[in-house]
């Protein structure tokens, strides 16, 4: 593999692969987005198109799922999010929409990865407000509905002005979550609980086993946001304690991922990680020098009925555990990303290295190697999986 001359006139801020890894887009302080393509993994990247996309530094960009065609969004210091569509698979991009709701720079954007939930775009900017846009009619990409606006950390706007701004957002890649079969039975204890877990749930008097199987998989729409030092999961609710069913854009803050002692630079979400995963993994890159991996194990949410009986609300909740943390970068960590199956995590930082981590059979996270920006490092066994350090 050889380095790729992007043709940017300034530093690159972010890059994005399309869903299949066949297109690669870069954005830069030179206000341009440049797109590269390759026919197969064996081919080198070749330049495809360049677009003058914004009037100031472009900070982030993201491709939409392929069901919506070749659709690219970018955000910038110019306070806007712009949507570009290509009708010829990336050879040319036309701007189809500009979203200008942010009063400050927009730092990070991400399209929902699971296309089944529609064309949705989450953004976060200096005002620390996460915004969720929805193109209800994907055939008319000029129309974007601002569906959710929620401040993630009050006071962070001031902080962001005083300190460095640090915001990120990442969607849960899966559209469903697999629940451990036992979770149906792990309901909170209730003095009046009966043997039938679903007595008041409206599900009916089904035998418990069948019910448990039926609820082993749940539709879920969620994303994780980091604003300065705070990391929080937003999830669409299906149940409203007042009205019963929730609205289409009823997203709310759920779990918080604790322990970050400084600015969180990046977040990445892996769904139902392989090897029998019944959990989600969220990795964070933090200025305190740590890469953290949080394990989120789902369970059913219960609410008390009129009679005091606990019944499942249809919502899920997560038990959050810090599964691993590493300070091997010996400095600030800037980016984390997962492989497709959520089994390999990459982290990169101020030591000029991209480090790679994998969970072994016992679920312990181990380093499997590192790539350095510095010349002269030769692995003892390049291409050898035996270089795992234990």
């Amino acid at each position: 593999m050889a380095s790729l001359i992007t043709g940017h006139a300034d530093l690159i801020h972010d890059i994005a692969y399309d869903h299949y890894g066949r297109l690669l887009a870069t954005c830069s302080s030179d206000q341009h987005i440049r797109v590269f393509s390759r026919k197969s993994s064996a081919d080198p990247w070749t330049f495809l198109s360049a677009t003058h996309a914004h009037e100031r530094n472009i900070l982030s960009l993201t491709f939409a799922p392929p069901q919506f065609g070749t659709l690219l969004a970018s955000c910038s210091e110019d306070q806007s999010v712009r949507i570009f569509f290509s009708s010829d698979n990336g050879r040319a991009f036309d701007r189809v929409a500009t979203l200008s709701d942010s009063p400050g720079a927009v730092h990070k954007i991400a399209f929902a990865k699971f296309g089944g939930h529609g064309l949705k775009l989450a953004t976060i900017g200096t005002d620390s407000v996460v915004r969720l846009y929805h193109a209800a009619d994907p055939s008319d990409l000029r129309q974007w509905h601002l569906a959710v606006e929620s401040e993630v950390e009050s006071g962070s706007k001031r902080k962001a002005q005083d300190m460095q701004a640090s915001f990120s957002v990442a969607w849960c890649p899966a559209g469903v979550v697999t629940l451990p079969p036992s979770s149906a039975y792990n309901k909170p204890s209730s003095s009046s609980s009966s043997n039938n877990t679903f007595a008041n749930s409206g599900v009916g008097d089904l035998p418990s086993r069948i019910s448990a199987l039926e609820i082993s998989e749940r539709s879920v729409e969620q994303f994780v946001v980091s604003a300065m030092t705070r990391v929080v999961v937003f999830r669409k609710r299906y149940y409203n304690s007042q009205t019963g069913s929730a609205g289409p854009y009823d997203f709310e803050e759920c779990e918080e991922l604790p322990g970050h002692e400084d600015l969180v630079r990046d977040v990445a979400w892996a769904s139902n990680a392989a090897a029998g995963g019944r959990y989600e993994l969220i990795a964070t890159a933090c200025k305190d020098g740590y890469v953290r991996i949080f394990k989120l194990t789902p369970r059913l949410s219960y609410a008390a009925g009129d009679t005091g009986e606990m019944f499942p609300t249809g919502e899920i909740e997560y038990d959050v555990v810090l599964a691993a943390s590493f300070d091997d970068h010996h400095g600030e960590v800037w980016k984390v990303s997962w492989n497709v199956s959520g089994t390999v995590l990459s982290s990169s930082g101020d030591d000029g290295q991209a480090r790679f981590w994998r969970a072994n059979y016992r679920g312990e996270w181990i380093g499997i190697g590192s790539l350095s920006a510095e010349q002269g490092h030769v692995a003892d066994n390049a291409g050898d999986e035996g270089d795992e350090e234990r």
Partner: protein, 812 residues
């Protein structure tokens, strides 16, 4: 790699400084440990003892290597001249074309730079780039250097992506399928699968071993060490647990040892045995004893035969002949176990005879040989260098009872330590200690494909049943875990996607459906065949949503290639009517924007349009708006071509009818579900057509009015309704501007090329021709908006005029 251009990040740093071997700066030990990694000093194909590349470098100058090896080493040395081997960089590899000179990372960081890396969404690779740490750097970070605007694509460490490796996986998988079929057949025919498995498994295990052996020789050298180590470990498993019935387990273990750690070397044997009197060579008896310890009885016998020993008397000759006879009659194969005691007794007898020989050298040599053959523990240990040799020798020569293997291993490892820095050593030791799970974990570190298949063999032989770990009890079995990991490797090679799914589906892990769900939509559908493959996988696993996603994504790809008919066909196949409808209206929109002739349809769409009977019902229903517009355009084209061929004979197919064209257009405008966005553009086009009618005072215009008055008044109502809805009118007006703008652009282009713009009817020409064609780019849209406003005004007037005229004509 050292030939890469050195890149200066440091202000004022000289070139010498870039390459300084500052071992203390930014040299981080990976994982916080400075211990060498497992498998780091991988054994070569010939055994465990190969040194690391660093050690090789040191030994290079001293040892007498083969010429070819020397050349390779020299090349390596040349390449690595610039490296500091004391640098603590275990597990660290430089990015391809790494941009920062050695030792210059601190300067890199001072310039407010950091490294970022993003993983590829499918493959086991990604791209790194240099980024600015802070958006508003409070210090000047200097000019941006060319290396700072590059991307650095790289494979994830440990990724194997040689085409040969891919073929190895395929061949292994084929064998796996054969094993499944054989096991099924055996189960069906005998009702006693375990008994049959005992016969079947060794056969397949040995076949798999042959596959690994063949491919480890073919894959590129970068992958070869770990695959070779995996082969050694797999061979050890086969020798200890899946012995071919034609040999004893002791023989199998000794064969494994002789193949993985051969001793004595061919060179040693040749040096001694090609001398005039081998027996006089200092290493002769050691050679005899070593070959006997290694179970190489024929080689040992030949050494004695060709030793040039001069027997001084008949007794000596008899002892020598006895020794040779014992060696040559060593029991083998199925008889070995039963005949062992008898053979050992013969060895003791010839040893007793040898002890009475007068020649001290001969006496010592032959009695030692006897002690080896009768399995004397101390003697065997004296001729062993590793626990593997000691264990194999005891097993073969002391008592080949399989039950005693672990006992021998324990004895051997008390004397010879296990090298726990080598995965292969540790894995083999675990096999001898009956710790199968640990051996499989070691195998995982060497080669996941080999490890997964080893686990499968063990699982089928019920060797993993007792492996229960409290910490992992909620996780999949180790066999399933390895299958999943192997499947992941397959998924990183798109051509092996189906193989990966097959492995996943052969596990007991229900959640693997989730993994398949995650992966299946990520595979790029190269062609329809691939789409079909993916859909079969979805059907098999019951992934309906993903099926829809795959087809929709494929349809979008087809649309970008202008394969519209195919896209419609696929969309309707998964009942995606939202997108089907959107595609049809996009076609209408594209035609309106293009003006003139409709874009040529692809073959499938053409068939849908021209042969509605062949068109599936759903598509026929959805495609109707475009089919109508297409028919209208076809009519116009025929009129246009018939005009240009006025004096020629009428073409086959007839002349178009203006009346029919108008009827088509009017029906589309009145279509209940017409997106209002297109209304103004369509009405404008219709009115332009009506104004054109007087020019055709023949049958092409038809007799009487072009449109019934009812249609005209409906269209007028529609127009007024549209005007009242500000939002809809605005959308429709915007689109009308787009249509006119496009028409204007085309007109300018055709005028520049001195071409006749409108070979077919294009209503826009009359409005855009000569109307501010030379305006500045910035004023273009405003100009078009003015034209569009004029079109709307004309539209109102024309509608009133046309309806009035229609009434008048009706009265007459």
């Amino acid at each position: 790699m050292s030939s890469q251009p050195t890149f200066n990040f440091g202000v004022g740093a000289n070139s010498g400084g870039f390459m300084s071997n500052n071992s203390s700066s930014s040299a981080f030990s990976f994982g916080g440990s400075k211990q060498p990694m497992f498998g780091a000093s991988s054994a070569s194909a010939s055994g465990f003892m190969a040194s690391t590349s660093h050690q090789k470098m040191d030994e290079d100058e001293q040892s007498d290597q083969e010429e070819e090896e020397e050349e390779e080493e020299e090349d390596e040395e040349d390449d690595d001249d610039d490296y500091d081997y004391d640098y603590d960089d275990f597990g660290v590899t430089s990015l391809p074309d790494a941009p920062v000179a050695r030792g210059m990372l601190p300067e890199f960081s001072k310039r407010d730079r950091t490294l970022k890396f993003l993983m590829d969404p499918v493959l086991s690779e990604g791209a790194a780039w240099i980024a600015r740490k802070h958006l508003k750097a409070d210090k000047v970070d200097g000019p941006v250097l060319p290396e700072e605007t590059k991307l650095y694509p790289a494979l994830v460490p440990g990724t194997k992506r040689a085409p040969e490796y891919s073929s190895f996986i395929v061949e292994s998988h084929n064998l796996f399928i054969q094993l499944q079929l054989a096991a099924q057949e055996a189960a069906a025919s005998t009702q006693q699968p375990t008994i049959e498995d005992e016969r079947i498994l060794p056969r397949f295990a040995n076949q798999f071993l042959q596959v690994v052996d063949a491919w480890r020789r073919r894959v590129p050298s970068a992958l070869e060490p770990s695959l070779s180590d995996a082969y050694v470990l797999c061979h050890c498993l086969v020798a200890t647990y899946f012995v071919d019935p034609s040999v004893t387990r002791a023989e199998a273990v000794m064969n494994w040892l002789n193949q993985s750690m051969p001793r004595p070397t061919t060179e040693e044997t040749r040096d001694i045995m090609t001398s005039l009197r081998p027996v006089d060579q200092p290493g002769f008896w050691n050679l005899v004893h070593l070959t006997a310890t290694r179970g190489l009885f024929l080689q040992c016998s030949n050494c004695l035969k060709q030793s040039a020993i001069i027997a001084p008397d008949q007794a000596t000759l008899g002892v020598l002949q006895s020794a040779i006879s014992v060696l040559e009659s060593a029991p083998k194969g199925t008889q070995a176990f039963l005949a062992h005691r008898q053979w050992r007794a013969r060895a003791i007898t010839f040893g007793d005879d040898a002890a009475r020989l007068a020649d001290p050298g001969l006496r010592h040599g032959l009695t030692t040989l006897s002690r080896i053959l009768r399995g004397d523990i101390n003697t065997l240990f004296a001729f062993s260098e590793t626990w593997q040799e000691a264990t194999a020798a005891l097993f073969l020569l002391h008592d080949p009872s399989p039950a005693r293997l672990t006992e021998y291993f324990d004895l051997a490892t008390k004397e010879f330590p296990i090298d726990s820095t080598l995965l292969v050593d540790e894995g083999c030791a675990a096999l001898f200690a009956n710790n199968i799970a640990k051996a499989l974990v070691c195998a995982e570190g060497l080669d996941i494909c080999v490890a997964a298949h080893m686990a499968d063999f063990c699982d089928r032989q019920r060797m993993l049943d007792d492996f229960i770990d409290v910490e992992t009890i909620e996780r999949p079995s180790i066999r399933d875990y390895l299958f999943i990991r192997h499947a992941e490797v397959c998924f990183a090679m798109p051509e092996l996607f189906v193989v990966g799914v097959a492995y996943l589906r052969d596990t007991d892990v229900k959640e693997n459906v989730t993994l398949i769900r995650n992966i299946v939509t990520q595979i790029y559908p190269e062609d329809e065949e691939m789409v079909e493959h993916l859909l079969v996988v979805c059907d098999d696993v019951g992934l309906d949503t993903e099926k829809g996603e795959i087809v929709t994504a494929w349809s979008k790809l087809q649309l970008s290639r202008n394969e519209i008919g195919s896209a419609l066909h696929w969309l309707s196949s998964v009942h995606n009517y939202v997108d089907t409808r959107a595609v049809v209206w996009t076609l209408v929109e594209r035609s309106l924007l293009q003006g003139g002739a409709c874009p040529l349809p692809d073959a499938i769409l053409g068939e849908f349009l021209t042969s509605p009977g062949l068109c599936p019902d759903v598509i026929r229903e959805f495609i109707a708006p475009y089919a109508i517009y297409y028919s209208y355009r076809q009519q116009l084209m025929q009129i246009s071509s018939s005009c240009s061929e006025e004096d020629e004979e009428e073409e086959e197919g007839g002349r178009g009818s203006l009346k029919e064209a108008a009827m088509h257009l009017a029906s589309l405008i009145q279509f209940a579900y017409l997106p209002r966005k297109y209304a103004l553009a369509l009405i404008a086009e219709l009115l332009a057509l009506l104004q054109l009618a007087p020019n055709f005072a023949d049958e092409r215009a038809g007799s009487g009015m072009l449109l019934p008055i009812a249609d005209m008044s409906q269209i007028m109502t529609l127009f007024y309704k549209l005007e009242k809805d500000k939002r809809e009118f605005s959308q429709s007006f915007e689109f009308l501007c787009d249509v006119l703008g496009e028409g204007r652009r085309e007109f300018v282009e055709s005028r520049r090329m001195q071409k006749n713009h409108s070979e077919s009817f294009d209503w826009r020409v009359q409005f855009v021709a000569g109307d501010g064609l030379d305006v500045e780019e910035e004023g273009e849209r405003k100009r078009v908006e003015k034209v569009a406003a004029k079109v709307c005004r004309v539209m109102r007037e024309s509608l009133v005029k046309e309806i009035s005229r229609a009434y008048l004509e009706q009265e007459q």
